[in-house]
Amino acid sequence: MTVLGILIPASLALGAVGLVAFLWSLRAKQYEDLEGTAARILLDDRDPEC
């Protein structure tokens, strides 16, 4: 059971990394326009035609 001493902190640390990443993305305004971000993938760098 001593392996728990490593596994639990490890899993918590990984979870915390995810949480910090989420809070960072929130502050960086990445949730302002979810639809737009998805659509922009389709755009060329050059001026597109319809």
Partner: protein, 745 residues
């Protein structure tokens, strides 16, 4: 001014709204963007694809004076940064019109507030923390559920507690605040049992953990917070969307006027205008106050104010009202009334009275929640007292079971059931260009059993279109188009529009002079070419058109005069919409301020048999109140200033985005675009939403019927609590997200 920009695939038929903007005080739309640049946010309902993003951003940045443009596809919004010295908001709106998009500016202050969206981000952050804690605690709980014992179990419980307790304290704060506010006000709301349940669960679990017990409810406590936060966030999203609809409304009213004092013209704020002041009103501007014309002749378009579709000629001595549109000539007017004394203020008073009269209609979800909160408390108390007595004073046992009852009955599903449906529905409506200002309006719309339409601007487009070209030859067209281009008069615009769509190119014609109230004139090679009022343009009176309203004549020496006839045409799908509403079991009525003949004609064309005409704003209000008195639940659809009181009094109300500020402000839903079908779409969406919300609440109720007895007899283990809660929340959310069965696309 044709611009060299790629044609857009999206949103055909953009109306030239640009002119409308020039009337308005522009500063309220524009905010400072730093570096001497300015920024404006515009609602562009036509954006719907990646192509639109590229077209708008590329097309706008190519215009002079524009630094950058950024499209927000989800919010159908464009943020434009520009150099105020080289570009103005009306130029940007015009540029978007050339790209094929209708745009309306957002009020800058309201937009800045919306964009910060403090509460939304705060809720998301709390949601993130709760989600993180829930997943980790659940993971640890799996070990306990699968049979960890002794020291291992205690270790798991301690770690769970260390994660869950701070998370519960932080993430649940919105509920504790709301509960505290309700209790200090002597009320009970849903957040009271929620807060009690969360903290009771935490306290019991902490005690259990400290004494090496088997059952800790940390997982249930934190997942309660997580699911409820989802509901709270969805609710916030719906409200934020509604607020953005309201922010868009703040614009477009006249905010400044040109005052003439001692021969000097000065721009003054509308509040500073006093009776007796002399104001100058240029053609194309809305009148800033009630008054009497001093000098000048023009035509005044009053459709926004009275519902009359035909403009009226006005000259010195005639009384004019604020909000009406000066069409063709420069005017000077003496102000007779401002502020409270104007017709507009009178309407505003009617609106206010009507809103008071309507009273507060409680959303049934709120009513259900209030009853629910009481029964939850009663049940938990019953469990506590019952078990305390039954187990001969085993306080710990009684508290544990009371906590289990609270956790199980806690309205995770109920807290999600209605917000999820509302969020999904308002998002769906928003994508179709229908802005919902209040989620409660969805419920009221679903209850409506009668639709009352206004005519001018609602059933019809509100601006004239060519209906008869009098057998004009291509040469006539070329001349007429050239003349019409020079004027902002609605007939001229309609004629120029018709010429464009028929493919007639205007000829070179030289200098054109506009005679206010009469028409346009240019010097031809053999004599004057005129386009205008029959009595003026056609001196010989060859056409008996003076009596027929809506006729414009083109004359030139040596040719027969040509008569163009205009009428305010019905919206394309007006008849279809009326039929669709009938098919859904609603009665349709037309109430108009226009003349009986025009109203009867429009009613016949739209397929409406019940109509009333020549109504004043207060008459419409009385008619509506009479119907409401008979128990009818009325959905009012109107656009004019004269409709505003009726819109405010109706059970639920809709207004086109092209409507007057005051009526859009009074309406519960605002729809963009030229099609009336939005009314049917909104109705269908509201009915689907009501059905879904009812299903969801029933499902949540059913879950309680099964789970509560189990909790009351003390059989709820942490595993059962976690399973029951998560599954009911997920089922309810999935049901809300389900597409309506009869999708058109």
């Amino acid at each position: 001014m044709p611009l060299e920009v790629p044609a857009s695939c999206c949103a055909p038929g953009a109306a030239a709204l640009a002119g409308k903007l020039e009337d308005a005080g522009l500063d309220r739309f524009v905010r400072d963007a730093g570096d001497g640049w300015a920024r404006i946010d515009l609602l562009v309902p036509g954006i719907h694809c990646a192509g639109c993003i590229a077209g708008i951003e590329g097309g706008l940045t190519r215009l002079p004076g524009i630094i950058g443009a950024r499209v927000n596809l989800g919010a159908r919004r464009v943020a434009v940064t520009f150099d105020p010295a080289a570009m103005g908001p009306s130029g940007i709106v015009a540029g978007l019109a050339d790209l094929g998009h209708t745009a309306r500016p957002y009020d800058a202050d309201a937009m800045a507030e919306l964009e910060r969206d403090g509460p939304g981000r705060d809720l998301l952050a709390r949601l993130g923390v709760a989600g993180f804690a829930m997943m980790n605690v659940m993971l640890l709980s799996v070990a306990v559920w699968s049979g960890a014992e002794g020291a291992t179990r205690d270790l798991m419980h301690w770690i769970s507690g260390l994660i869950a307790l701070p998370a519960i304290a932080f993430a649940g704060l919105p509920f504790y605040r709301s509960a505290a506010a309700a209790l200090t006000a002597g009320r009970l709301n849903m957040d009271v049992p929620i807060s009690v349940a969360i903290w009771l669960a935490a306290a019991v679990s902490l005690y259990e953990t400290a004494t090496g017990g088997a059952h800790a409810y940390f997982d249930a406590g934190i997942s309660l917070v997580f699911f409820l936060l989802i509901g709270r966030y969805l609710d916030h999203r719906t409200r934020a969307q509604a607020r953005s609809a309201a922010a868009e409304l703040a614009g477009l009213a006249v905010t400044s006027a040109t005052r003439i004092r001692g021969g000097q013209r000065e721009a003054v704020a509308i509040e500073a205008v006093r009776p007796g002041d002399i104001l100058a009103v240029a053609p194309g501007e809305r009148l800033p106050a009630d008054g009497i014309i001093r000098t000048g002749r023009s035509e005044i378009e009053r459709s926004m104010v009275t519902g009359e579709s035909l403009p009226e000629t006005a000259g010195p001595g005639d009384a004019v009202h604020a909000g009406t549109l000066n069409l063709s000539g420069a005017l000077e007017m003496t102000v007779t009334a401002t502020g409270d004394g104007t017709l507009l203020a009178e309407i505003a008073r009617l609106v206010e009275a009507a809103e008071r009269g309507r009273g507060r209609i409680d959303a049934w979800a709120d009513v259900a929640a209030r009853h629910y909160a009481w029964s939850v408390h009663a049940m938990a108390t019953l469990a506590f007292v019952g078990w305390y007595w039954w187990s001969d004073g085993d306080l710990y046992r009684a508290i544990t079971i009371a906590a289990a009852v609270l956790i199980i009955t806690c309205p995770c599903a109920l807290g999600l059931a209605v917000p999820a449906v509302h969020a999904v529905t308002s998002g769906r409506l928003f994508r179709r260009g229908i802005l919902l200002k209040d989620a409660g309006a969805l419920e009221r719309l679903a209850e409506a059993d009668m639709v009352v339409f206004d005519k001018t601007g609602t059933l019809t487009l509100g601006h004239p279109a060519l209906v008869d070209d009098g057998g004009a030859t291509p040469a006539d067209w070329a001349l007429a188009a050239a003349l019409a281009q020079a004027s902002r008069h609605p007939y001229s615009r309609a004629l120029a529009e018709a010429a464009r769509s028929k493919g007639h190119q205007p000829t070179e014609i030289g200098t054109i002079t506009e005679h206010p109230g009469d028409g346009l004139e240019a010097a031809g090679p053999v004599g004057p070419i005129r386009l205008g009022r029959p009595g003026w343009a056609d001196r010989a009176q060859n056409i008996a058109g003076e009596a027929a309203p809506g006729t414009v004549v083109l004359t030139r020496p040596g040719a027969e005069p040509v008569a163009f006839r205009f009428a305010d045409s019905l919206r394309k799908d007006a008849a279809e919409t009326v039929a669709a509403l009938r098919a859904r079991g609603l009665d349709v009525l037309l109430l108009s301020g226009d003349a009986p003949g025009a109203v009867a004609e429009a009613a016949a064309a739209a397929g409406i048999d019940a109509f009333e005409s020549s109504l004043r704003p207060s008459d419409k209000l009385t008619a509506l109140e009479g119907l409401a008195g008979k128990g009818r639940r009325i959905a009012m659809v109107g656009d004019g200033i004269n409709d505003a009181p009726a819109l405010a009094a109706a059970h639920v109300s809709l207004s086109p985005a092209s409507g007057a500020d005051v009526s859009r402000a009074a309406a519960d839903l605002v729809f963009t675009g030229e099609e009336l079908g939005a009314v049917v779409e909104a109705l269908d969406a509201a009915r689907t939403a009501r059905a879904r919300a009812h299903q969801n609440v029933w499902m949540a109720g059913l879950y309680n019927v099964i789970a509560v007895p189990i909790a009351l007899v003390g059989l709820v283990t942490p595993l059962i609590a976690a399973l029951a809660m998560s599954s009911s929340s997920i089922v309810v959310t999935l049901n809300a997200l389900r597409q309506p069965r009869s999708t058109n696309r």
